[in-house]
């Protein structure tokens, strides 16, 4: 008789514990479910990138930026000029990330200057007699070298 009572109380305890755990887990599904669409979107994007045999956008950008290193000094300060009309903060910071340990400063007072963006008819270093184009890397990235003060 005591054995039955003990096993029945154990069963009740186990059931209560299971229900309580289930309730907590159900509740926890609420916050966790908010991450499902983000995971799905990233899986979808990753799938599309793989289909096209392409790297993640940042990896491609980093590789393109690092190509500039071939015509820049290994260390020192390099200038940066935003020739586009839009904001180039991200482009400048990402170039700094790619080209470290060079220091990138928003100025054209350096010997080497990276021009970013598509210049308008009146702007851009290609119209500046003090600079010569060293190499154009993509439509929006060019390296210039100062030829005279």
């Amino acid at each position: 008789m005591p054995l039955t009572s003990e096993s029945s109380s154990r069963w009740i305890f186990r059931s209560a514990r299971t229900i309580a755990c289930g309730a907590v887990l159900l509740l926890l599904y609420l916050p966790a479910s908010d991450m499902v669409p983000i995971a799905q979107w990233n899986l979808h994007t990753w799938g599309r990138l793989r289909e096209r045999h392409r790297d993640a956008p940042d990896t491609g950008q980093d590789r393109a930026n690092q190509a500039l290193a071939s015509v820049l000094p290994a260390t020192g300060v390099v200038g940066f000029l935003n020739a586009s009309t839009g904001d180039a903060t991200r482009a400048r910071y990402f170039l700094q990330y790619s080209l470290a340990p060079r220091l990138l400063v928003p100025s054209i007072d350096q010997e080497f200057v990276i021009e970013y963006g598509v210049p308008s008819a009146t702007t851009g270093l290609s119209r500046d007699a003090r600079f010569a184009l060293v190499k154009e890397f993509a439509q929006d990235l060019r390296v210039f070298r100062r030829i005279s003060r």
Binding site: P31, M35, A39, N42, L49, T75, Y97, A100
Partner: protein
């Protein structure tokens, strides 16, 4: 990459030996591994930073010194037995011995893993702050050594916060040096290691002090938080800081247990010091730990209590010394502090709107934690209310609550005094600031919840915390 690159793991092995030894004996190396990984990575970054300051002028010498030091550390810790091993008990010693907890963990772990892989695959360089601050600095340290690595702290880069502490960038640069190139996988693995460390340390500790089920619930709670998961893939320093905040609380808890060994205080001091070495918010955390723990100790045992807590300071001291050296020698002034004046502080504190906005925003973030309807912390609070509190109240989690609560107050104060636009500051950083304390809050809550008499307990000599 060569076979020699595996030597990068020596500090982790040394830390695993240390944690196993603190438990008495050599058992539970695998159990301790996730926590040891975080502690090992942190301490090795301090040592690496110290070696970088020496006039060695070559990575080969730096690696030679590093390997020698950590090999010696492994040997010494393995050989020295400060305490006898705890006697064997019949009870279960692994919190995953029972199958239901294992099954329950599969879904959240798999979900978190899928999320981590999917987001990392599309943003392998991390979020903006990761590549602009932490990984960029690591590239400076790795590519610029021995001549121009200090350029990383140039005032020209003031937008990248060159005053931020160095644990993450030095850890990444150290691993890159062993690997031989700046491989993208290193910061990703670092983020995964600290994430695993958080989940494992919190779950293992609760499983040991309460029950296996509670341990599993702790892990599920942490993994169910959208803000936490979102930050695991960011590659910023917030998840490492969350690890050190949690680990400090857990180790303080272990040190305050009956018959707690003084060495637990020392390791807690190391974890607290590493928090300061990770982020500026960690410095506030370390200061809070070094005030609250001695205050509790003095209150409970007067001067004897204070003497007993000395290892806490001894553990943190070398790391804080490295931080002071960095701040004095290389780091430019912090933008938040440099912009302060007595007039600004007083006017900000008297600005009721500012105080209200900051407090409300922190309250909302604690409630939602990145979720759209309800976050994990309110569910945790419901759970604790439903189960009731453990009696007598365990000291460790209570100290943990006091420490994390004080850190949240310090964060609110920082927001109120911030010279930047408050709305922008809250929008861009609040989720990360709360994630820094989130795992520790979950651990505190789950450790305080009452354990029913029938719940299967683990043997008291179970390895872990």
């Amino acid at each position: 990459m060569t076979w020699f690159s595996i030597a990068v793991l020596l500090p982790i092995i040394a830390s695993a030996f240390l944690l196993a030894r603190l438990n008495g004996g050599r058992r539970g190396l695998l159990t301790h591994l996730p926590t040891a990984a975080g502690l090992g990575l942190g301490t090795s970054s301090v040592v690496w930073w110290g070696i970088m300051l020496l006039p060695l002028a070559s990575w080969r010498f730096v690696i030679a010194v590093d390997v020698t030091l950590w090999t010696l550390a492994c040997g010494v810790i393995w050989r020295v037995a400060p305490w006898p091993a705890a006697p064997n008990e019949d009870g279960k010693r692994s919190w995953l011995d029972r199958w239901p907890p294992r099954v329950l963990l599969i879904v959240p772990l798999a979900g978190a893993a899928v999320y981590f892989v999917a987001v990392t695959a599309t943003t392998p360089h991390g979020i903006w702050d990761a590549w602009a601050i932490w990984n960029a600095r690591a590239r400076f340290l790795f590519r610029g050594y021995p001549d121009v690595w200090t350029q990383a702290f140039s005032p020209v880069l003031d937008w990248s916060h060159p005053d931020y502490p160095l644990l993450v960038p030095v850890s990444v640069a150290r691993a890159w040096t062993y690997v031989g190139r700046d491989h993208l996988a290193v910061p990703i693995l670092l983020a995964a290691t600290f994430t695993a460390g958080i989940v494992s340390t919190a779950a293992m500790s609760v499983a040991r002090s309460a029950s296996a089920w509670r341990g599993v619930l702790t892990a599920v709670m942490i993994l169910a938080s959208p803000a936490f998961l979102a930050n695991t893939v960011s590659q910023c320093a917030d998840i490492p800081l969350a690890f050190y905040v949690l680990t400090t609380c857990v180790l303080v808890g272990r040190a305050t247990e009956t018959g707690g060994r003084p060495a637990w205080w020392a390791v807690a001091g190391i974890a607290a010091g590493l928090a300061a070495w990770t982020k500026n918010e960690g410095l506030a955390f370390t200061a809070i730990v070094l005030v609250i723990c001695p205050a509790w100790s003095y209150r409970s045992r007067r001067w004897r209590g204070l003497a007993g807590i000395a290892p806490l300071f001894a553990g943190a001291a070398p790391i804080l010394a490295a931080l002071v050296m960095f701040k004095l020698l290389l780091a430019p002034p912090n933008d938040l502090i440099a912009a302060q004046s007595m007039g600004h502080v007083l006017s900000s504190l008297q600005n009721v709107d500012r105080v209200q906005i900051a407090v409300t925003a922190v309250g909302k973030e604690l409630w939602f934690g990145g979720a759209s309807q309800i976050g994990v912390l309110p569910i945790l609070a419901l759970f604790v209310i439903a189960t009731g509190l453990r009696r007598p109240l365990p000291i460790g989690p209570m100290l943990g609550l006091a420490i994390t609560g004080a850190l949240i107050v310090a964060d609110i104060l920082a927001y109120i005094l911030s010279p930047h636009d408050l709305a922008w500051q809250l929008l861009t950083s609040l989720d990360r600031v709360i994630v820094q304390v989130f795992p520790a809050l979950v651990w505190c809550g789950m450790s305080l919840a009452r354990v029913r008499a029938g719940e299967p307990r683990l043997a008291s000599n179970t390895p872990g915390f």
